[in-house]
C-alpha cells in the first residue's frame, strides 16, 4: 500500500510539472518562432488600440524600394468577431492581400490557395483548428459578425483551412473587402491596427526597427516598431505573466513531491530498523545499507516519475486531448525531452527523499542495532 501511495504522491506532482513545463515551453517556442520570422510589428506609439493610417505602408516601403532588405509590409486590422449562431469568439484579422503570403511564409500556402485568395475579395483563410471546431470546409460561405467596426455581418468564402500553418486558430480575410464594407457602412476607413514588416536578416530587422520610428517621429501618428518576439512577449507578460508563474508552480510541485517521498522513505526506514540492524550485525557495511535505502527510493520515485511523465504524454498525443486549443501556443505539445527531464527530476526526488533515512542507517551503531533486534 505504501509503495503505491509513494508512487502516486510522486506521480501526481510530476504530472503537474510535465503539463506546466509543456505550457511554458510552448510559450518559449512560440516566442522563438516569432523571432525566426524576422518580422517587425509596428504599432501606434501610444497604444496598440490606437489605429495607424494605412498610408504608413507606402512610407515604410520607401525605406527600401529594391525590396532586398525590407521584403514586404503587410497592414493588419483586427476584427475578432463571432458566428451568427455561435457566441464563441473568433480571432479574425483583415490583411493586405498582396503582401500576406510573402509576409507570412510560415503558412506554407499552396499556389492554388494563393490564386483563390487573389481572385476573391471575400476570401477567408481559416485556421484548421477553428475550421474543425466550426465545422467549416473549403468552399463554404460563412458569415462573421465583427466585434469591431464595421460591426455588421460580413460574408466570406473559405479558400483554405491552412493545413500546413503553425497557427491553426487565426482566420485571415482581405483588408480591401473590409475597407469596402467600412465605406459602405460609413465606418472609419483607411486604418490598420498594426503593420508587420518582413526583413531579410537580423541586421535589417534591427536597422529598420529604428528607421521606421525615425520616419514617423514628430508626426501625428508616431510608431513603435518592435521585433515580433518582443511584441508578443509584451502581451504574454501582461496577461498574468503565465510563463513565469507556471514555472514557479512547477517548482512548488517538485518541492511537494520531495516532501511526500521523504515522508514515505522515513516511514520505510522506521519499519525496517530491525532488518537493517540484522544486516549490520551480519557484517554488511554502512554503505551497503545506504545503497539499499537509496535504491528503494530511486525505484519508487522512478516508477512514480514514469507514470507522471507518460500519463500526460499519452493523453496529449493519443487521445482527443491532443486537439485542445490553447491561446498563442495552439496546443499542449509534450515532447519526449520534457518526459526525460521529468524522469531526471523524479530520480533527484528519490535521492533527496532518502538522504536522511540512509544517513541514519549509516550512523546506526552495531550494538544499538543489535539491542533494537533484541
Amino acid at each position: 500500500m505504501r509503495t503505491l501511495l509513494t508512487c502516486a504522491a510522486v506521480a501526481l506532482p510530476i504530472i503537474i510539472y510535465v503539463l506546466t513545463t509543456a505550457v511554458v515551453d510552448g510559450f518559449n517556442s512560440f516566442l522563438d518562432n516569432s523571432a525566426k520570422q524576422l518580422r517587425l510589428a509596428v504599432t501606434q506609439k501610444t497604444s496598440i488600440t490606437n489605429p495607424l493610417p494605412e498610408g504608413h505602408r507606402r512610407k515604410i516601403e520607401t525605406l527600401d524600394p529594391t525590396r532586398k532588405r525590407l521584403i514586404a509590409v503587410c497592414g493588419l486590422r483586427y476584427i475578432g468577431g463571432q458566428r451568427d449562431d455561435d457566441p464563441t469568439p473568433l480571432s479574425t484579422l483583415a490583411v493586405d492581400a498582396d503582401t500576406f503570403a510573402e509576409c507570412f511564409p510560415e503558412h506554407h500556402l499552396t499556389a492554388e490557395e494563393i490564386d483563390a485568395w487573389n481572385k476573391d475579395r471575400q476570401a477567408l483563410m481559416v485556421g484548421r483548428g477553428t475550421a474543425r471546431d466550426m465545422n467549416w470546409k473549403v468552399g463554404d460561405r460563412v458569415t462573421i459578425l465583427p466585434s469591431l467596426p464595421p460591426y455588421e455581418k460580413m460574408e466570406f468564402h473559405i479558400v483554405s483551412t491552412l493545413e500546413n500553418a503553425a497557427d491553426f486558430v487565426t482566420n485571415w480575410c482581405r483588408r480591401d473587402y473590409l475597407e469596402s464594407e467600412m465605406k459602405r457602412l460609413q465606418a472609419p476607413e483607411g486604418q490598420v491596427t498594426f503593420f508587420f514588416v518582413k526583413c531579410a536578416s537580423k541586421t535589417d530587422l534591427d536597422y529598420y526597427r529604428m528607421e521606421i520610428d525615425k520616419l514617423f517621429a514628430g508626426s501625428l501618428d508616431e510608431t513603435k516598431a518592435q521585433d515580433e518576439k518582443t511584441f508578443m512577449n509584451e502581451f504574454i507578460t501582461q496577461q498574468f505573466d503565465l510563463p513565469r508563474n507556471l514555472a514557479i508552480l512547477a517548482a512548488m510541485t517538485v518541492f511537494v513531491a520531495i516532501m511526500a517521498a521523504a515522508n514515505t522513505m522515513s516511514m520505510n526506514f522506521r519499519d525496517r530498523i530491525n532488518e537493517i540492524a540484522t544486516l549490520k550485525s551480519l557484517g554488511f557495511g554502512s554503505w551497503f545499507t545506504f545503497a539499499l535505502i537509496q535504491t528503494e527510493s530511486l525505484m519508487l520515485c522512478s516508477l512514480g516519475g514514469l507514470i507522471g511523465a507518460l500519463g500526460p504524454y499519452i493523453a496529449f498525443t493519443h487521445t482527443p486531448l491532443r486537439n485542445l486549443t490553447v491561446p498563442l501556443i495552439q496546443t499542449i505539445e509534450i515532447v519526449p525531452f520534457t518526459c526525460v527531464k521529468a524522469m531526471i527530476i523524479a530520480l533527484g526526488i528519490g535521492i533527496l527523499a532518502a538522504l536522511w533515512p540512509s544517513w541514519l542507517a549509516i550512523r546506526m551503531h552495531v550494538v544499538t542495532a543489535l539491542r533494537e533486534v533484541g
Partner: protein, 377 residues
C-alpha cells in the same frame, strides 16, 4: 521518526494551501474589483457587436437618439441623467525597476458622470478644470504606474504629445475605475482626435424599468447594444472563471498527492500504536471511537497545516498586480485579496485531505485484532 513524518505531511498540506490561497487571491482580487464596478441602476450602451467600451464607436447622431429612452432619471434641473464617455488608452511605465509599459485606460467624461458613478470620490487634490490640460487618476493607477502622483505630468493624446497635469486622486470603492485616468471629455476627444464616444451610461429612475429601457435601446429606434452596467463588468470578470478552473485542476491534482501523504503518515501512526489501540478496545472503546480518534488526529494535522498555509498566503494579501484584459485591451490594476471565501475554500480542501487521507488508516485501526495485538505487546 513519526514526528518527522507528521512534519513532512504538515509541510505538504501547508504548501498546497499556501499555493491555493495565492492562486485564488488573484481571482478574488480581479473579481472584487470588477464586481465593485458599476451600478444596477445604470444601463451601459455600446455599439452593437462591440464587446467592450474600448472597441465601441458610437457616432454623435446615434448618441442623440438616447435621449428618448424611457425610464431615464432626471437631475434637479430636469436634465436626463445620461453620461457620454470616451475610452482611450495610453502607455505608461509601471513603477518598479523594470518599468514595463502598461496600456492604461483614459476616460473622457462630463460632470454628469460623477452623478452616475457616485462611487467615484476625490480623496486627494481636486477635480480637473474643464478645458484645462488636467486629469484625475484612480488610486490603483497612481500606486501602480509612474508619474501619476498629484503634480505629476502624463502625456496623452493621439501622438502622446499633450502633457496633462495630475490634479486629483479618486477612490471608486475598489472598482475598475480606480485603474483609470479621467479627464474632461471635450479635452480628451480633442487630444485623441476622436469625433465619437465609446459608451453612454443611462441612469434609471427605477430599476424595474431596466428591461424596457434595454429593449428600447436595442430596438429599431436606437439600434445599439445595452445591458445593465453590473452585467457588463460581470462579463468582463469571466477571465477569473478561467483562472479558478485552472487553479481547481492543479490544486485538485496536488491535493490528491497530499491525501496520499496524509494516508502514509496515518498508517504509520496506526502501526506504531497497535498496542494502545488494542488496550482501548479491551477497556470498552468502540470501533467508532477508534475511527473518530484517528480521523481527528488527521484533521488536526491538516487544519494546523492549513492555518500555516493561510498565514503564508496572507503575506501576498494586498500586493498590487495588473493584467491586460483581452476584452478591453487595457490593464486592470487590482490587489490580491485573501477573502473569507478563499480562506474557507482552503480550509475545506485541507479538511477534505485530512478526512480522505485519514479514513483508510482509521478503518484499519478499528479492525486490529485485540488478542493478536496484545499478544505481540
Amino acid at each position: 521518526m513519526r514526528k518527522l513524518s507528521t512534519a513532512l505531511t504538515f509541510t505538504v498540506v501547508g504548501v498546497i494551501v499556501a499555493v491555493l490561497c495565492i492562486l485564488l487571491s488573484f481571482a478574488a482580487g480581479i473579481r472584487v474589483s470588477l464586481r465593485a464596478s458599476g451600478s444596477s441602476l445604470n444601463v451601459l450602451v455600446l455599439k452593437t457587436g462591440a464587446t467592450a467600451e474600448s472597441t465601441s464607436i458610437i457616432m454623435p447622431e446615434e448618441a442623440n437618439r438616447l435621449i428618448q429612452t424611457p425610464g431615464i432619471a432626471q437631475d434637479d434641473a430636469g436634465q436626463k441623467l445620461i453620461s457620454q464617455e470616451l475610452c482611450a488608452q495610453t502607455s505608461i511605465p509601471r513603477r518598479g525597476p523594470d518599468g514595463n509599459p502598461a496600456n492604461v485606460a483614459v476616460r473622457g467624461v462630463d460632470d454628469t458622470a460623477f452623478q452616475l458613478h457616485s462611487e467615484v470620490k476625490i480623496i486627494e487634490g481636486r477635480r480637473y478644470e474643464p478645458g484645462a490640460l488636467e486629469v484625475i487618476v484612480g488610486k490603483q493607477a497612481r500606486d501602480r504606474y509612474q508619474g501619476l502622483e498629484i503634480g505629476g505630468q502624463v502625456l496623452l493624446g493621439r501622438a502622446a504629445n499633450r502633457s496633462f497635469t495630475v490634479v486629483g486622486v479618486f477612490d471608486a470603492e475598489g472598482g475598475a475605475f480606480e485603474s483609470e485616468i479621467w479627464g474632461s471629455r471635450p479635452t480628451i476627444m480633442d487630444s485623441y482626435n476622436r469625433r465619437f464616444i465609446s459608451s453612454a451610461i443611462l441612469r434609471l429612475a427605477d430599476p424595474a424599468q431596466g428591461e424596457a429601457a434595454i429593449k428600447y435601446l436595442k430596438g429599431s429606434a436606437v439600434r445599439l447594444n445595452a445591458k445593465l452596467e453590473t452585467d457588463y463588468y460581470e462579463d468582463l470578470s469571466s477571465k477569473t472563471q478561467q483562472i479558478v478552473a485552472l487553479t481547481s485542476i492543479l490544486i485538485g491534482i496536488m491535493a490528491i498527492g497530499a491525501i496520499f501523504a496524509v494516508a502514509n503518515t496515518m498508517y504509520a501512526s496506526v502501526d506504531s500504536r497497535r498496542r494502545e489501540i488494542a488496550m482501548l478496545r479491551t477497556i470498552g472503546f468502540t470501533r467508532t471511537s477508534i475511527v473518530t480518534s484517528f480521523l481527528l488526529e488527521s484533521l488536526l494535522i491538516c487544519i494546523l497545516a492549513c492555518a500555516t498555509g493561510v498565514a503564508a498566503g496572507s503575506l501576498v494579501n494586498g500586493s498590487r498586480q495588473d493584467f491586460l484584459s483581452d476584452s478591453t485591451w487595457t490593464v486592470l490594476a487590482y490587489e490580491l485579496r485573501l477573502t473569507p471565501d478563499v480562506v474557507l475554500t482552503a480550509l475545506g480542501v485541507a479538511m477534505a485531505v485530512g478526512l480522505i487521507g485519514g479514513l483508510a488508516p482509521a478503518l484499519k485501526a478499528s479492525r486490529i485484532g485485540i488478542i493478536e495485538a496484545l499478544r505481540k505487546a
